[in-house]
Symmetry: C2
Subunit: 207 residues, 2 copies
């Protein structure tokens, strides 16, 4: 598992000449860091007298945020695995027409899967961002900048995933799948930008 | 050192009820991931026949990118240390006017330092982003989405640092320092947004 490496090792392996872990796994890690910051602000709010009226709501936010963090953490590995399967398909033999046909089919199938992993990441980022918004609005004001960083880094994870969806779609021949996935990803990317800007406005008025 | 922890431990400690590591260290880690991806694209380009004409330039980019990555990695710890010093100053005794005066001075000094660490992070992010732009324009086109993710995550690191500069400035009484630092941070934030948009445009035309 990539998350059992040290941070230094993860950085070194990312920087290495091996294409994995690459932008997909890094985007998932960014999102996990955003969810972790959201959880931190919840924990720095819950139990404080001044915030007693939002305690139950933030306990619920914390539960969801930790669930999303776990999901993001799993996606770090899932992205690298999906990428490795695409590479494995490209490495299949192509010495006859039949082998070529099989190789092409394997590439298409692996690439579809490698598109769906960052699409899932985008979906969870959008949900996690709603939680960052709640903690920016209602969480401990001393940690409001952390809520802002959470939103910014969740947006970066989402936009990084979007670029990975796009580059994989470019290699797919199934036009109906491509059109549908593009539309879905594009919608999430737009909504995430809007929500992030809303969070940053809240943060800046509170600083 | 925070980078000698596993990725899972780093995430867990961020999510914990301890305020450090918080948004500042997470922003520095985001930036380090951006620099790591920039280095990866360099390494996936250098030595390839098709890119022989940019080899020398990308070797130079790689050298700088790895330097910035090291700087970002150091800033992960520096931010947490600076934050802990602010907390230590707040914990000083205030049982007499003289002690109060000393405590206030210590808080001001520690907060200034805690402002300069994210400001440095912003400065290095701006420089590192120029490298992400070069690799997006000239690097291996198969890795162009990674160059895009590098830019997005460097921007998130920079904007996260900006929020940390802002929240620390709000606690400072030295108006001349505050005005100058605000102006400097604001300028970097604007230029970084522009450059990131330029990188994303390059990436999207190449996908």
């Amino acid at each position: 598992m990539l998350t059992s490496k040290t941070v230094q090792q993860f950085l070194d392996e990312t920087a290495s000449s091996s294409p994995a872990p690459g932008g997909g796994s890094v985007s998932a890690l960014a999102a996990a860091l955003g969810a972790a910051l959201t959880s931190m602000v919840c924990r720095l709010t819950i139990g404080k007298k001044k915030y007693a009226d939002v305690q139950t709501e933030l306990e619920d936010v914390l539960r969801q945020s930790e669930e999303y963090r776990q999901r993001f953490t799993a996606l770090i590995d899932e992205d690298t695995q999906a990428f490795n399967k695409v590479m494995a398909a490209f490495a299949l033999p192509k010495d006859s027409d039949e082998l070529k046909r099989r190789r092409d089919a394997a590439i298409q199938e692996a690439t579809k899967k490698a598109t769906l992993v960052p699409l899932k990441l985008m979906e969870v980022c959008e949900q996690a961002l709603q939680l960052a918004k709640v903690v920016a609005e209602k969480g401990n004001v001393n940690s409001v900048s952390d809520a802002g960083v959470a939103a910014k880094i969740l947006m970066a994870g989402c936009e990084g995933a979007y670029l990975n969806v796009r580059i994989n779609l470019a290699n797919l021949t199934d036009e109906s799948f491509s059109a549908q996935t593009f539309q879905q990803a594009d919608g999430i990317a737009r909504r995430v930008t809007t929500t992030t800007n809303e969070v940053v406005t809240v943060v800046q008025t509170k600083i």
